[in-house]
Chain length 135, copies 2
DNA sequence: CTCGTGATTGACGCTTACGTAAACGTAAAG
DNA sequence: CTTTACGTTTACGTAAGCGTCAATCACGAG
């Protein structure tokens, strides 16, 4: 079903390449590894990042933009490549999804309200500007 | 235009009431005051919160849910009750609004993508569950 | 061999956003 | 007057999320 070819897609990245692409520091990437969010291959002592790591980094940063903590991001990101596993695991995952979805929908409501109010402030500003210039 | 009656709406709140209503600690509310986000009246040494403060607290917490830092929240919240002021100020405000709107719209895109992907994971889980039970 | 480039591991520092006492003030109730 | 409830300031503690050295290693080019 969701089996993925393992060795096709042989492209790899260095830590510096990923850092440049996503505009974060090496320190940040290594920190995410410390926190268990990334698990690059080691070739000797050096880190080698595969497509999987690259995708995960993208997910992590998106999670950050959404205001999740790294711990929360960990549980979210881990859902993406969870293996089928046993029933309990699946049920747990589905529960997590429900929770996260509720949070995200709340955030979207917050955003919409804020955008609406910003639009009002903007209108105020613009009419204030007009009456100031039209004076 | 946007003048508001000053003394109507005489209802006030204690710090504990606000804390209970918004489910935050007293410490948190006082901290926001330290950071200049709230400016309750003082009756002697005691803090007295008016409708304005209550609204601002709501805005602050919404900003937090959106993942803004308190500094960013400060600039956002301050836009809401900015006085007409001079032209430069208005232009600055309009610029801020543009910036914040762009951020919020990015966040909304992030949310929508995440929701979409969560839905996919959910489908996977459910079909996995079925094949596990139907087995 | 040596230099430069890019990588590594500590380890300490810093900011944000509060938590958590400690010590004290005040006002109404018993 | 003492207790109780609710408030206050001061101040140190802490977790998260990195920044910023410093010292070291590996390797290809000259």
């Amino acid at each position: 079903m969701h089996n993925v070819p393992v060795t096709l897609d042989a492209r790899t990245w260095t830590i510096a390449e990923l850092a440049a692409e996503y505009d974060v520091t090496l320190r940040t990437i290594r920190f995410y590894e410390d926190r268990g969010l990334l698990t690059p291959e080691r070739r000797g002592t050096v880190r080698v990042y595969h497509a999987r790591d690259r995708v995960r980094l993208g997910l992590i940063l998106r999670g950050k933009r959404l205001g999740f903590s790294l711990d929360e991001i960990a549980t979210i990101v881990d859902m993406y490549d969870a293996e089928p596993g046993e029933e309990g695991q699946l049920v747990y995952l589905l529960d997590q999804i429900t929770t996260r979805r509720a949070e995200l929908e709340q955030r979207r409501r917050d955003i919409d309200e804020t955008l609406k109010e910003l639009a009002e402030v903007e209108h105020r500003c613009q009419s204030d500007l007009k009456s100031l210039r039209g004076k």
